[in-house]
Symmetry: C2
Subunit: 188 residues, 2 copies
């Protein structure tokens, strides 16, 4: 089984008007995506933010649930929060995966809108790659705000199609999208 | 296509020790599950809580995004929040679905643990029922806290199996579970 990592990108991302911004870390996103990472056999979950105050917040949260009073209160959170670490940039997260896995990960983005200039990969196809013994380590990128900027998108090896249901509304939260994507790739 | 409703049960539910409690409403749960309901063609989303203060909170949130400054700022939230309403008990939610649909809904629970005394239904099977033109209206129950009490469970017509991924850890947030369940039932 290939190693699957998740990166939640807080910066740089786009805002509503298409400006480059850094979004704030949301405590529930850290928990929800860490718990989904643990459930679906992920190898790690990066919060990518250039803000030192936000990096410190992530450290405080993980310490509370790993070593503080949270660890005794809810051991399931302890397990999930062990997957969490911060990285100042996407490049740092990629380098950390490379160091842990001994090879460069493939970078796969997700997007609520179709992306023209990046090869598309279907969920079933990527799921099969990940299930293979010799599958490449994979870093799955989730954007916050209004999504990943074009200069991040062009670095991707592949992009997964937007998630659609029974309507043409597809404005899921990043927490919901992360859960569905991991289930489509690795659910039983 | 059968009408699919979601109910997030805040009370009565169980706490860690198995006592009956009422949990607090979480703003992000309202948003995340409303957006997933909209994405997957749901007909409505009930927050079930006996607490009038919490019912008022739900009303304030929906008003802000439907008619307040939120409606102009983010019209996608407006669409999603239109699906949201509170009910004081499960019985009230069931009665409201019955009134809207002209017949009693089937009640389907979800659970992180196997449930012995309720008929199991597979995701694919329920998905087919929901896709049928003459499919029964269905109310999907999501528990908060440590899950639904036994006297709620025995009222169910069916229960969906727990969600497992690539590990034996299955402690998803209710937001993640809701997203995955709706995708499994109605995703494209």
């Amino acid at each position: 089984m290939a190693a699957l990592y998740v990166a939640l990108i807080h910066g740089p991302v786009l805002n509503k008007r298409g400006d480059r911004i850094t979004t704030a870390t949301t405590g529930l996103s850290v928990h929800d995506i860490a718990r989904a990472t643990a459930t679906f056999g992920g190898a790690g979950f990066f919060l990518v933010t250039p803000l030192t105050s936000q990096q410190a917040l992530v450290e405080r949260m993980t310490r509370h649930w790993q070593y503080g009073s949270g660890a005794g209160y809810n051991p399931n959170r302890k397990v999930a929060l062990e997957f969490v670490q911060w990285a100042d940039t996407l490049q740092t997260a990629v380098a950390q995966v490379q160091q842990a896995e001994g090879q460069m990960p493939q970078l796969v983005a997700t997007s609520a809108k179709p992306v023209a200039n990046v090869p598309a990969v279907e969920y079933a196809e990527l799921g099969q790659q990940l299930a293979a013994e010799d599958g490449l380590p994979t870093l799955l990128l989730l954007g916050t705000g209004w999504g990943l900027p074009a200069d991040t998108m062009v670095q991707m090896d592949a992009v997964l199609p937007p998630i659609f249901g029974a309507s043409d509304y597809n404005h899921l939260s990043v927490r919901s999208a992360a859960a569905i994507i991991l289930d489509r790739l690795r659910g039983k």
